[in-house]
Amino acid sequence: MAEYDIKTDSAYAIRPDEAVDRLKGALLKDIQRSCYVYRVDCGGCNGCEIEIFAAITPIFDAERFGIKVVSSPRHADVLVYTGAVTRSMRVPALRAYHAAPEPKVCVAYGACGCSGGIFHDLYCVWGGADKILPIDLYIPGCPPTPPATIHGFAVALGLLNQKMKASYHLQQDDEHPQLLHPQLPLDLRIQVERAARRMAGYWHGRRIADVFLAMIKNGDPLKLSSTLQEYLAAQGDPRLSEIMHRLEEVYLAWLADH
């Protein structure tokens, strides 16, 4: 969608400046133990903003690393851009950029800040902070949790190393996807998994279905009921019992069909 990207020759547009780029390396050393952060909300949903707030509150306390959220971009060392950069926020965001002293670190925060997130190609957003200004660090997440925020700042300041690596996989010849529960008939597996998902959702459902299918697979079908009883007694969870019994019903119905 290149044709829809911003082309504006704005008075606020950022021109490349090599001198500033060179200074950035020195900056990191200076701000490693004292870092003033200014938040620039470019049209986020509030999730990111509140998580940044949460990162400075007692449980996570970013201030112990000398990180402080300041109220004026003039004081800022790091500008944190959240939100998908709406049209109305483009100029204010750039004003904040120009208002901050050079050099500075610009962080794109959250899915929207990194790329526009779920809004990435909409008419009223520009799709991420890096569309309008140079970004030094991306902190993905929707929203990034406070620990993720702290980790992100630590990476930005060079205190921790980046964990992410680009990966590119090329299909190999010996690559074969494994079948799930290959010993069980397909329709039984699918029926049980569906029932489990309907009863407990995709996440619990899969785990429960796996346990159940393992019981079928490993045990004697006739003894299933007692194995199940033992298992459920050990778990002591009435809801789990209900779900398992429903799966048992599905299994019994399947057995009856075959």
């Binding site: 003033y36 007692p58 201030e63 000398g66 004026s72 003039r74 002293p101």
Partner: protein
């Protein structure tokens, strides 16, 4: 002590105050974190901040004139001058030849003039409002401060800082109701002047985004912040010099010097501790209600004056 020795002590104490000011503010910052159940920044964080700010680029608004540039320097130099004059380490005023208590009180007005002016000069809308608030509050506090100064001066028979301090230190002023009330009123006035919550009206972060500080950046901000820290410590030192000048040197001796430094640090820590507890346990005063609180201090000051008249 000889004049030369006194001047030496003055220089030492001014440097001490200058260098220790960020430490004390850092201490307040750590206490603040502790009251919020946080781990908080390292004790020396303020130094790191200042050093960092020094190395940052300075961004200046197009509206700003030279007053804006001058203000931080005026603040620091004026506060250093006061630091030279206060009896901090010695019971005498090291630079008593320059002026007396009235001069000290008026010296606080000089940076206020410049900082407020700078707030407006920067063109920043909040800078102006901050300037207005700062001046309004100080207009209310000034009479309190002066009345207390007068009562103390009358008790001691001199407006000379060293004289008052000496007399209090050697117990020549019998502790009276007038003295205690003056102390309370002065402590309150100093607290307000320090710009601590609930009276940080000019720099109210949530209301005014740090007011006059908002437009500053880089080394100017560093000097300004340092100046503000120094001003706070100087106010504490002034309070201690007037009311609790115990432990100060009378002669120049290594032991005395060490003792006086330790005594001062302990007293200042105590003041900062109490101030930190108070400032973190309260909401900011609603600006238009701040006079009511200050009338109270004025009341205390007037009462101390009445007690002085009645020799109580």
């Amino acid at each position: 002590m000889t004049l030369a020795a006194l001047i030496g002590v003055g220089i030492v104490q001014a440097l001490l105050l200058l260098l220790a000011a960020p430490l004390f503010s850092g201490f307040a910052r750590v206490l603040r974190a502790k009251i919020q159940n946080r781990k908080g920044p390292p004790l020396l964080q303020n130094y790191l901040d200042l050093v960092k700010l020094m190395k940052r680029q300075e961004v200046v608004s197009e509206q700003a004139g030279w007053v804006f540039h001058a203000a931080p320097y005026v603040l620091m130099s004026t506060m250093l001058l006061v630091a030279l004059m206060l009896p901090v380490l010695a019971v005498q005023s090291p630079l008593g030849v320059a002026g007396d208590l009235i001069l000290v009180v008026y010296l606080f007005a000089l940076p206020r003039f410049f900082i407020s002016l700078a707030g407006v000069d920067s063109g920043n809308p909040f800078g102006g409002i901050g300037a207005r608030r700062e001046l309004f509050v100080s207009a209310l506090v000034e009479p309190v401060l002066l009345l207390v100064v007068f009562v103390m001066a009358l008790l001691a028979g001199s407006t000379n800082l060293g004289t008052i301090s000496c007399k209090v230190a050697v117990g020549a002023l019998p502790p009276s109701m007038a003295f205690w009330l003056s102390m309370a009123a002065f402590a309150f006035a100093a607290f307000v002047e320090m710009g601590k919550l609930p009276f940080d009206l000019a720099e109210a972060e949530q209301e005014l985004q740090e007011g006059p500080l908002a437009e500053y950046s880089g080394r100017s901000l560093a000097v300004l912040k340092w100046g503000v820290y120094l001003k706070q410590l100087v106010l504490v030192a002034l309070f201690l010099a007037l009311f609790l000048p115990f432990g100060g040197m009378t002669d120049l001796s290594p032991a005395g010097a060490l003792l006086s430094v330790i005594a001062f640090l302990l007293k200042a820590i105590l003041f900062y501790f109490v101030a930190a507890v108070l400032e973190n346990a309260m909401a900011r005063v609603r600006f238009m209600k701040s006079p009511a609180a200050i009338w109270l201090a004025l009341g205390a000051a007037v009462l101390s004056f009445v007690f002085y008249l009645a020799h109580v």
